[in-house]
């Protein structure tokens, strides 16, 4: 768990504080996405957590300990750190890169070797094939897999990720997002994730913290932020298509009416598909009812246009 309280940081010569009395609590095992326009203080906030930047005021407590009471080097060895440019050590093999923190912590060689193989396999890279390779021999996506494996090496309870997929092509990015979301959730890591991409925030975040000029504007689940933006800034930031983005968060099986039998002629959609896909299918086929297919293909309920509408009816921000 990470508890940030009244955190303030002002860089010399800056007109306003980079972080301005920020208070934020990230529950254990949750992915908290910090998002906002350039200069909103999201990266500064993240870097204060592992003391890459020292705050002027306020506190950060990680798993019960105030980070200011911990030696920065020790602190950082127990917090995973992934950056957009990845920063793999080009002169070290993939195995040595992954082993960075275990070596700093003085693990014995056998334990390190076993851990490296375990992690490479976890991030989907064959240890036998990649252990001895060098970073320049890998693609951007593979490098970031190694970057994440390296951050996970000493099994830190908390991970900081600064736009980890920013430099990766869109198709690989979506794939890595899904994959890492699964891995990190399985490992129950508490994660602070910085991005400027709202779609990534919605996809990755259990909670999204929207920042502007160093201040926290809204902190809530993706669903709640899309349904009820706190102000005009958030509304503009999440985009005019926020109703569609909300639909993308809900699966057809979660929104279906299981009590209603599907009409025989109704086209069907898989239960795991999102309501956004269901809506697209309804629009393209000119129907307002779809049968929802279960894992074995049999219809398990129906999803209707009316049900989708009921879920997307939002109040404009001004009514709050």
């Amino acid at each position: 768990m990470i508890e940030i309280a009244a955190l303030t940081k002002r860089f010399p010569g800056a007109a306003h504080p980079a972080v301005d009395k920020l208070t934020l609590r990230v529950p254990e095992g949750a992915v908290c996405v910090l998002i906002g326009p350039s200069g909103c203080g999201k990266t500064t906030t993240m870097r204060i957590i592992n003391r890459m930047i020292e705050p002027d005021a306020g506190s950060v407590v990680v798993n019960g300990r105030n980070v200011m009471d911990v030696d920065p080097v020790t602190l950082r060895r127990h917090i995973g750190y992934v950056i957009q440019q990845i920063g793999l050590f080009p002169h070290w093999s993939i195995a040595d890169n992954v082993a960075t923190v275990p070596k700093l912590l003085g693990w014995d060689a056998a334990r390190i070797a076993a851990r490296v193989d375990e992690l490479l396999a976890l991030v989907g890279m064959d240890p036998g094939m990649y252990r001895g390779r060098f970073p320049r021999e890998l693609s951007g996506g593979q490098k970031q897999r190694v970057g994440v494996a390296r951050a996970l090496a000493a099994d830190p309870p908390v991970m900081l990720m600064d736009e980890p997929f920013g430099a990766i092509d869109p198709i690989t990015r979506t794939h890595l997002q899904d994959e890492f979301l699964r891995i990190l959730h399985d490992l129950k890591k508490t994660i602070v994730f910085v991005t400027h991409d709202i779609d990534e925030a919605i996809r990755m975040g259990d909670r999204i913290a929207i920042m502007k000029d160093g201040a926290l504007i809204q902190y809530d689940t993706p669903e709640a932020i899309l349904a009820a933006p706190a102000d005009a800034f958030v509304e503009a930031f999440v985009g005019a298509d926020r109703a569609l983005k909300r639909l993308a968060l809900v699966s057809a099986s979660a929104a279906m009416d299981a009590a209603v039998a599907a009409p025989a002629a109704a086209p069907s959609i898989e239960g795991s598909a999102s309501l956004r896909d269901a809506l697209a299918r309804m629009l393209s086929l000119g129907v307002d009812t779809l049968a929802v297919a279960g894992p074995h293909g049999a219809a398990i309920g129906v999803v209707t246009l009316a049900a989708i509408r009921a879920r997307t009816r939002t109040k404009p921000a001004s009514e709050h």
Partner: protein, 214 residues
């Protein structure tokens, strides 16, 4: 014909030749070793600063443009003649390329790599030792190679201020218009410089971490 006479000269005076060759190598190697010991740590420290670095690098660049003979000539009135003044002058000659290359090499290490190292909990010293220096090593070695060749060539001129070495044969050869004797100094000095360049080229490749070799 001249070459044969030069060879006969060496055979006639083997001790003189070997002693001159030895002085030449000792002078060059000592100057290079001292310059490395000063310029590499200095370059690393300077890479972390800004104003002091600009000052030092500007100085080094001026130093690099000074002709070798001028450096020797400038040292003589202050320190007199002999081995030590020659060593001092040659060390001065070797400093700029090593200093400039070390400074540049460390500065050129990707900031993201250093940020990642720091973010994973390496101390300042660990970052220097495990990340910055290994990545800078090929470029530092290129500077050492340049300096080594310069020093070996420059050491020929040490004869002018009584430093000894192969330059003695050259100055004597010129003074007496004895070409074979001139060759006794000039050819081994040239071969020494070429050989050193090759040797350091090989060392430079060996020092390049495997992950950086293309």
């Amino acid at each position: 014909m001249l070459l044969v006479e030069a060879w006969q000269f060496i055979l006639a005076h083997p001790e003189r030749f070997l002693s001159a060759l030895w002085t030449h190598i000792a002078l060059s190697a000592s100057a290079l070793a001292i310059a490395i010991a000063i310029a590499v740590p200095l370059g690393v420290v300077l890479s972390g600063t800004r104003r002091a670095a600009q000052f030092a690098i500007a100085g080094a660049n001026v130093g690099r443009t000074l002709p070798s003979l001028a450096v020797l000539a400038l040292v003589m009135p202050i320190m007199g003649t002999g081995f030590v003044p020659s060593l001092f002058a040659l060390t001065l000659l070797a400093l700029p390329p090593i200093l400039i290359n070390t400074y540049t090499a460390v500065r050129q290490v990707e900031p993201d790599v250093v940020d990642a190292a720091r973010g994973m909990g390496m101390t300042r010293n660990e970052i220097r030792r495990k990340v910055e220096l290994p990545l800078a090593l090929p470029v530092i070695f290129a500077g050492i190679r340049t300096a080594a060749v310069q020093v070996i060539s420059g050491a020929v001129l040490a004869a002018y201020i009584g430093g000894g070495g192969l330059g003695d044969f050259i100055t004597a050869g010129i003074a007496m218009m004895a070409l074979p004797q001139l060759f006794v100094g000039a050819i081994p000095a040239t071969l020494l410089a070429l050989g050193t360049d090759r040797l350091f080229g090989a060392l430079q490749r060996a020092m390049t971490p495997a992950g950086l070799r293309s």
